[in-house]
Symmetry: C2
Subunit: 145 residues, 2 copies
DNA sequence: AATTTGATTTAGAATAATTCTAAACTATAT
DNA sequence: ATATAGTTTAGAATTATTCTAAATCAAATT
């Protein structure tokens, strides 16, 4: 896929606009890269991929664009154990699974309302606006369920 | 508290021994510092506190000691959003709450078996050996429950 | 008791992800 | 057309952590 779908393009400029930020070719390209291959790339990986299609872009701009996308709510940062930050455009509630063998990170959809239920373990004066759930382990091959 | 309780001292040398590592004054001191004030200090904070009682210790040694304690299972690393790694000697199952206002991290005990239940959201070929649950938000003052 | 062995400690250098800085560029508003 | 403000860019700076190599220490062996 080479460019942003009309739908995503609209979502992007709406979201940026709403946050008082401009829609730029670099931001569109970075967003498109993230949507294209949703394997939780690091800033460095995003830089490499983006550069292949927009050779003049700089690392600083990639960081800037990623930050803009995070700020306007279209992208989430995923941090696993002090490894470089990864970027994830999946906005539906999900957990992450970190494979010790490959280092890859997978989205794990969680049932409706589960994240809500989790906050019930908090004492009454703890008010949480975000819940992060990360599993670590390995993938067993050949076993689907 | 100035030194390690007899119980903790035993647990420490047992655990180190089991991992093929020696019990040293530096490791005892760092462990004692962690047990003394359980507020999830960073390596830097551990260094400062340790230095006040053992002025010759170096930063590298603090990192070495913390790593030894983690390796032998007495201490857990807590990573929140690419902030410096924090160290936590609480071995019972618990979640963490990260206050956006103060930056402090609190342990939140979770009911027996809850962590076990969480892994059930994983597809059958995902095998998890650790579950991490982090809440982010703020503490409401004056409200206890 | 002296010596070898291997682990540990230490200071300082190196690394690496990220942020900062200041100048150049761009687009929009005036 | 011009001014204004946001954005991009290269490169420097920052910072937590790891690495390196020498010095120290403790246990095991002679």
């Amino acid at each position: 896929m080479k460019t942003l779908k009309q739908m995503d393009r609209g979502a992007l400029s709406d979201a940026l606009d709403h946050a008082g930020q401009r829609t730029t070719p670099q931001r569109e390209m970075v967003f498109s890269i993230l949507l294209d291959e949703r394997n939780h790339p690091t800033a460095d990986e995003v830089y490499t991929r983006t550069k292949s299609r927009m050779p003049t872009i700089s690392m600083a701009t990639v960081y800037n664009c990623l930050e803009a996308l995070v700020t306007c709510g279209l992208v989430k940062q995923v941090n696993i154990e002090r490894e470089p930050t990864r970027y994830c455009p999946n906005l539906s509630p999900h957990a992450h699974f970190h494979c010790r063998e490959t280092g890859r990170v997978y989205d794990v959809p969680v049932p409706e309302g589960m994240m809500k239920d989790l906050v019930k373990v908090l004492p009454g004066n703890y008010s949480a606006d975000s819940v992060e759930l990360v599993f670590r382990g390995h993938l067993e091959k050949g076993k689907t369920k």
